[in-house]
């Protein structure tokens, strides 16, 4: 589908989207005005991106901390390479885990290769939940650590378009 947007307009639209969809009745009309295009072109581009799988999701992006989910732990595990996919898939399906990624080891400084995020209202509940998960999946014997966050210096939408013209970030 041809949207008729120039590469410059497409890039500008992406930057605006990274900052957020405006909270007005016709948000894509509003975005279209900012990039000197019309609403149909912007909606066409949105559908095209959606079909290409460029969006992970389009919707409400919440601030966990402001909602009272202030206990945020990163669980890191040192999983034998032969088991990483199996363990990753199992933990990835577990309730309460919002992210589960394999990342490289950096020996000797960093031995952990599986990263999970768990959010909760209270630290102790998060610790208990994680211990339950490890027990359930027979992973308690694997070397692992819990890294609780103590302060958020910055938290906003990711910006993949070229920098320096980025829209202001919220939060």
């Amino acid at each position: 589908m041809k949207t008729g947007l120039t590469p410059r307009q497409t890039l500008a639209l992406r930057r605006h989207l990274e900052a957020g969809v405006p909270l007005v009745s016709r948000p894509y009309q509003c975005l279209a005005e900012r990039i000197n295009a019309n609403e149909d072109q912007v909606l066409g581009q949105m559908h095209q991106w959606h079909e290409q799988g460029l969006f992970r999701r389009v919707g409400l992006v919440l601030n966990h901390r402001a909602l009272g989910f202030t206990a945020n732990a990163m669980l890191v595990l040192d999983v034998p390479d032969a088991l990483i996919d199996e363990v990753g898939q199992r933990l990835g399906r577990a309730q309460g885990i919002t992210l589960c990624y394999q990342r490289p080891r950096r020996l000797p400084q960093w031995r952990y290769n599986l990263f999970c995020m768990v959010h909760g209202r209270q630290r102790q509940q998060v610790e208990t939940r994680i211990q339950q998960l490890l027990d359930e999946h027979l992973l308690s014997d694997l070397p692992h650590q819990l890294l609780f966050s103590t302060h958020a210096f910055k938290q906003c939408g990711a910006r993949f378009a070229a920098p320096s013209m980025g829209a202001p970030c919220h939060g």
Partner: protein, 152 residues
């Protein structure tokens, strides 16, 4: 109209996906059986309260560019100064202090990997600290929003 109830419904229904059409807030209102004006008022209130970070697109960084999770082990006395330096980059969207020898963790995103490398090199030069550079290799679960009910 109960804004607390409505905000809860909006969070439950429209984190993963919202209608992709000219009047998405009206479509959301229809789905919840209320008026568009209520939906917009509620989202504005959530925005003001800080619970809504934004309504927006979360891009898939494997397709939409490059990113990495980086960490510094910063002497405690320098933590705020180094954190501020890191946060200055528009390429950095998350920057957290964590309880660990590696005590500053941040996500760097950019159009491609060389761009990310430049940011990390600059930070290393500026701070005298060597970052851990941990790009994602496999995603077993990606962030699709989260349920207020099921989390501890």
């Amino acid at each position: 109209m109960d804004l607390d109830l409505l905000s809860r419904q909006l969070m439950d229904r429209f984190q993963h996906a919202m209608p992709l059409c000219a009047e998405p807030y009206k479509a959301m209102a229809v789905a919840l059986g209320c008026d568009e004006a209520h939906v917009l008022a509620c989202l504005h209130a959530m925005d003001q309260a800080g619970t809504l970070s934004r309504v927006g697109a979360v891009f898939d960084h494997r397709r939409a560019g490059a990113s990495t999770l980086a960490a510094f082990a910063v002497p405690a006395t320098r933590l705020h100064q180094v954190a501020e330096r890191v946060s200055q980059y528009p390429e950095v969207n998350h920057n957290y202090a964590r309880e660990h020898f590696y005590n500053l963790w941040f996500v760097v995103t950019g159009p491609d990997r060389p761009h990310i490398q430049r940011v990390l090199n600059e930070l290393e030069k500026d701070t005298g600290l060597t970052p851990l550079d941990l790009p994602m290799l496999t995603a077993y679960r990606i962030d699709l929003g989260f349920s207020l009910g099921e989390t501890p």
